[in-house]
């Protein structure tokens, strides 16, 4: 068994995904949550690249990863803008305090 194989990548990707999910749920800081989302996206990109190399043997997976990275960047830009407006209004970026709408 080769250690640089599909299994290693799958496990790394899975760990990244789950830690990202965990971070996104447990953090109070919106930026922290967003870091979790970035981890999730990274894990998917890694998975795509790995599958592209080991499983499909075509470059389409890599291309998918590139697009994921680009979208992630765009999402980060929007997140920053919204974050600033939240900060202006609430003076805080605690996700738990954003609960004026409920029920």
């Amino acid at each position: 068994m080769n250690i640089i194989g599909i299994e290693s990548y799958l496990i790394i990707g899975l760990v990244l995904f789950l830690i990202g999910l965990f971070t996104a749920i447990s953090r109070k800081n919106i930026i922290g949550i967003f870091m979790g989302i970035e981890l999730i996206l990274n894990s998917s990109a890694l998975n795509f690249a790995a599958f592209s190399r080991f499983s499909a043997r075509s470059l389409e997976g890599q291309l998918f990863s590139i697009f994921i990275i680009v979208i992630a960047a765009a999402e980060a830009a929007i997140a920053l803008a919204l974050l600033l407006s939240i900060y202006r209004r609430f003076g805080d970026i605690d996700a738990d305090k954003l609960d004026s709408m409920k029920g």
Binding site: A95, D96, L98, D99, G103
Partner: protein, 701 residues
Amino acid sequence: MTMREFIEQYGFIIVLAPLLGAAINGFLGKYIQKRSGERAVGLIANASVFISFCVALAAFAAVWSAEEDAHTVVCYLFNWLNVGALRADVSLLFDPLSAVMVLVITGIGFLIHIYSTGYMKGDPGCYRFFAYLNLFIFAMLILVLGENMLLMFIGWEGVGLCSYLLISFWFTKQANAQAGNKAFIVNRIGDFGFILGMLVLYSLLRESVFTGGLAGVEAPSLLSFRFLEMNIHLLTNTELFGISAATLVCLCLFVGAAGKSAQIPLYVWLPDAMAGPTPVSALIHAATMVTAGIYMIGRLHFLFSMSAAALQVIAVIGAATALFAATIGCVQNDIKKVLAYSTVSQLGYMFLGMGVAAYSAGIFHLMTHAFFKACLFLGSGSVILGMRHEQDIRWMGGLKKYMPRTFATFLIATLALSGLPPFSGFFSKDEILWQAWKTGHHGLWLMGFISAGITAFYMTRLVILTFYGLNRLHLRPSQDLEHDHDNHDHGRHDVRESPASITAPLIILAFFSLVAGFIGIPAALGGGNRFEHFLVPVFGHHASAPHHDPMEYLLMFASVTVALAGIAAGVFFYRIRPELPDKIVSRIKTFHRIVYNKYYVDEIYGVIFVSGTKLLAKASAAFDRYVIDLLVDLAAYVLRVNSYLSGAFDRIVVDGLVNGAASSFLFSGEQLRRLQTGKIQAYVMLLLFLIVIGVSFAVIM
């Protein structure tokens, strides 16, 4: 062009005319009324129903004169939907059953329209009222004439909608609004049964049609009544959820029928619906809409005949309703409420008839009841008008000399309802009771028999309190201010006979209450029971060949006796010894209170349904708010359990045991309140957990 061809081609006019009337009054009525007065609005509405009535007569003639084997006339309009295995046409089905119904609807509908022109005089919303009324006639005709169950369902919903609009017509009183809502909601429960029954029937039939042998039919109209009747045998051996398919479907449909026709346990809306204008009560809540359930059972009698169990349920519920509602009727003080409970009770009779498979007897009673109950309601409307919107019979009395025509018609209809011989009610009610006895349901017969006596009693009470003795209007407690038209300066001198537009329909209806029974004189009395013969093409020969059973005479005699006894009791208690009832009431106070409050059924429903619904709603709102956090907390607790297992366990259990369930609810409420809500990550948590559940499910499978 023969009558038959005429109906085949132009039969749709019956349906179209009221629709047109409704459209004209609905869209233009306001201007017409402003420009030409209410008379013009009324005229349009009356004319449209009259046209419809004339064509209905023609249709009746076409069915009547039809050849031996061609009693069904179909007026095909257009293909309505054609999808998958389902094909449904918009076409109208005329056969003896629907012809009778159409005549009743348009005929009585027309009379009530005339009456309404008098009754609604001076109301600014007159045009709206007539538009709804016409729309109702339209929907009712669709219900009756629809050639398939879907079309029937459209009409079924339509009449519900119109009745909702009409009950709530006078919005000024909060009670009306609530009554309208109650009617609609109870009807929705019934509709649920109807839809469910229809869907189950459809899918089962579809299965057997495609698997079983059915040749030569392409794109069958699975829900068309003719198709159903011919192919219903395919379902004989089908079972669903362990009971026979026919029983299941019939019970579902019966829930629908019970909702529409106000049977136990869904009758609660009908008495409340009396808050609407009186012509509406007469038309919808006595003569037509409430009989839709009976009509539906008659229409689908071949289906119901397949399930003895369902018929048994129907018969028992019918008889129980008849007795139950009659007892409530005895102690009501509102003139319309008395009549409403009487309607519920008479509908119970009809269901009893249907339940013992005496379909034509049930339909016969439906027809005669339509006449005399409409007459009674309209008469009560006349009284209410005369009394300036006083509805409480305790403050009436002595109206005989002020309103002679109203009194005479009311009396005739009362005698018909009480089931005295030559009046129409006698024949139809007796037929049902006899059939119940003959088919071996002696217990049910007894219930019907007793309620016949009670009916005679409370109707006598109503007549005596309203029309005899002295006027008691001045006795009315003055703080009773619940009516808009309340004035203290008007007295009994103002009471006078209603105008001709009101009394004329009364007289016509009274006439029919008197004579309508003659078309169904049983063979035992030398008649041919023409009505039943007319319906034979629909229902077949359910009754065995007439042989003169002496029992039949005996029962007839018994029921006349019990009716007379009821009347005599009424006269005795309310005319000869009027102080007795109060004494008796004070003797049996508790029981009287229970009956007077309608056995507290409304309250019980209130507790069960209203708070049940509220609880459900609260729970579901709480679900979104709390459950996500609950998941969070649950998981947390599970992992922390070793730290304070004993303490928490003790507290919860001991608390629970000591303070009972309430405190544990409080406890969990505290737990839940402590949590914050509206948090985005809690939402993600829900997502995570459900994905975990889904994924583990995938692995386990």
